[in-house]
């Protein structure tokens, strides 16, 4: 029986995938090698790991506005996470998700989403309902 996590209404389609979790933040420009589809910033908690088709679970979004275009560019090449779950999104990632038609949710009622979900969990994200199912 999957656990149900409530969050704020988000953006994008319903998706299911495998979680990749870290207590760290996210910027498409600062942290990624978008051609290889890996976290490239040496100091990032997920450095060297592939994000392709994962449900990325991180603390917050940081840094620059480039991520808004970059999610669209990543999506066009088919090398993207399936969804983003944040404790708190910033406006840029939400804008990028809207353009790229990617799923994104934040503000979880039960606390820190980076401890509520573990790497390897199967996660279903339903942004329009503000619900995430974890099994």
């Amino acid at each position: 029986m999957p656990r149900t996590l409530k969050c704020h209404v988000g953006i994008g389609p319903d998706v299911t995938g495998e979680a990749l979790v870290a207590d760290d933040n996210f910027s498409a420009r600062y942290d990624l090698d978008r051609i290889k589809g890996i976290f490239s910033r040496p100091q990032h908690a997920l450095a060297g790991q592939s994000y392709q088709d994962k449900i990325l679970v991180l603390n917050t979004a940081k840094g620059g506005v480039a991520s808004a275009w970059m999610l669209n560019e990543m999506s066009a090449r088919g090398i993207t996470p399936k969804a983003f779950l944040f404790n708190q999104a910033n406006t840029i990632l939400a804008q990028g998700a809207a353009l790229a038609k990617m799923a994104m949710c934040d503000r979880f009622e039960d606390g820190d989403v980076t401890t509520l979900i573990h790497t390897g969990d199967t996660v279903t994200v339903r942004p329009s309902e503000g619900i995430v199912l974890v099994s």
Binding site: S40, T60, G63, V65, A66, W69, A76, I92, A94, Q95
Partner: protein, 413 residues
């Protein structure tokens, strides 16, 4: 969200497909961030370099350019952030014709929408600064934090697509920094030593940004004894936004919404001291004294005319090391003035290159680093050293004076 009759007409497609897309995009954002309605904005500023856009983003813009002229024209003055390719100087940097062509196509598309190609992240110093209470839709985090904090304008971080949407509708969803409730201080920092020079201000911004750590935190800073210059505020804000995703700060007695701590409800907040050890720890993470330097970069943000004069004065009568590249990025309008006054010539006599309308980290930084064999990069910008680690560089930080000494020596002094 409550929509007025004009917004309803946009949403229905009555005012054309461009404005229909724009309003649909904005409603998604408004719903996520609980906007009650839309707010008119006086200007939009779009970040869109070709590396970020890719073929997909350029084709997206060309889709608007193919629409009827009346449908595609932006509704308010709309300007642009730095470009990724200086079309007068790209082959020597290792940028390709394919990169330049993406840039050319994007510029053509923007111009057909009536977007003004200002190509600057210092529009608040060069184009038309917003005023207190002015609602705007700005991209570039450095532009937003300066405009919110120093000018008292009201903008969220508007990524390229959302800035475009605001340009087309003349509005943005009323959430975040457009609301009084999100402009009150949430963290209270007290400095214990006074910053000296641009890099010190950048380091202070970086430390406060890292401690704040969220778009939704608003730092208020106490203890500043000397009013910072516009360039010092620029470096501090850009670094704070880079390390913390911070869009607004207040400085007691300096910034317009914070004549007193009480103006921003800061009196009840716990005081957090910014100590010398906090500042030193950040500097040390970007220290590399004695090491060979491949490229010295002044950028992020683009240099003002006053910074251009300082660089030129430090370069005069000297010559950079033959194995060290030296790049300066400035706005196209500043480039013109610097050319007329002679600052560019002084930098080029030193062996450096002034790039116009670009910013280094937005210029396919990974690819030009690989093409030129650049790893060790030195800059006086606390922002750029934060960004470039992910692009394969080993970035180091030093004052403008020390950067130029290093360019002469070929190693970090």
């Amino acid at each position: 969200m409550k929509l007025d009759s004009e917004e309803q007409a946009m949403l229905s497609g009555e005012l054309g497909p461009a404005r229909k897309w724009a309003l649909e995009h904005q409603i998604q954002l408004g719903r996520m961030f609980d906007a009650a309605d839309m707010v008119p904005v006086s200007q939009a500023h779009m970040m869109a370099d070709p590396e970020s856009l890719g073929e997909a983003g350029v084709a997206f813009m060309e889709g608007f350019a193919a629409m009827d002229a009346a449908d595609r024209r932006v509704a308010i003055p709309m300007i642009t952030d730095p470009r990724g390719v200086d079309l007068s100087y790209y082959d020597p940097l290792g940028q390709t014709e394919e990169m330049a062509n993406l840039e050319r196509r994007f510029i053509a598309a923007c111009q057909s929408l009536g977007i003004i190609m200002t190509d600057t992240c210092i529009n608040y110093q060069t184009i038309m600064p917003p005023v207190l209470g002015d609602h705007v839709a700005y991209g570039d985090t450095g532009v937003v934090i300066y405009s919110n904090s120093v000018c008292g304008a009201r903008s969220n971080f508007e990524g390229g697509p959302s800035a475009l949407a605001a340009g087309l509708t003349g509005r943005t969803p009323r959430y975040g920094l457009h609301l009084d409730v999100h402009r009150k201080a949430t963290r209270r920092f007290r400095i214990t030593s006074q910053p000296q020079g641009l890099t010190d201000w950048g380091v202070l911004g970086a430390v406060i940004g890292r401690k704040s750590g969220s778009y939704w935190e608003v730092p208020v800073i106490e203890g500043v004894e000397n009013i910072p210059t516009s360039d010092e505020m620029k470096h501090m804000g850009a670094a704070m936004a880079s390390y913390g995703s911070t869009p607004l700060f207040h400085m007691v007695g300096v910034t317009p919404e914070c004549r007193t701590l009480g103006d921003v409800d800061g009196e009840g907040l716990a005081v957090e001291a910014i100590t010398d050890s906090d500042l030193d720890a950040l500097r040390q993470s970007f220290g590399a004294k004695g090491e060979t330097v491949d490229v010295v970069v002044f950028a992020a943000p683009q240099l003002s005319l006053v910074e251009m004069q300082t660089v030129a004065d430090l370069c005069r009568g000297r010559q950079k090391h033959g194995d060290t590249a030296f790049l300066v990025c400035t706005a196209a309008s500043v480039y013109g003035d610097a050319q007329r006054i002679g600052f560019n010539q002084a930098i080029e006599d030193f062996g450096g290159k002034v790039l116009q309308g670009t910013c280094f980290y937005q210029q396919y930084a990974r690819e030009i680093g690989e093409a030129n064999g650049w790893t060790r990069l030195l800059s006086n910008s606390a922002k750029i050293v934060n960004i470039l680690g992910g692009y394969g560089y080993a970035p180091a930080l030093a004052s403008m004076e020390d950067c130029i000494d290093a360019a002469v020596a070929g190693r970090i002094v």
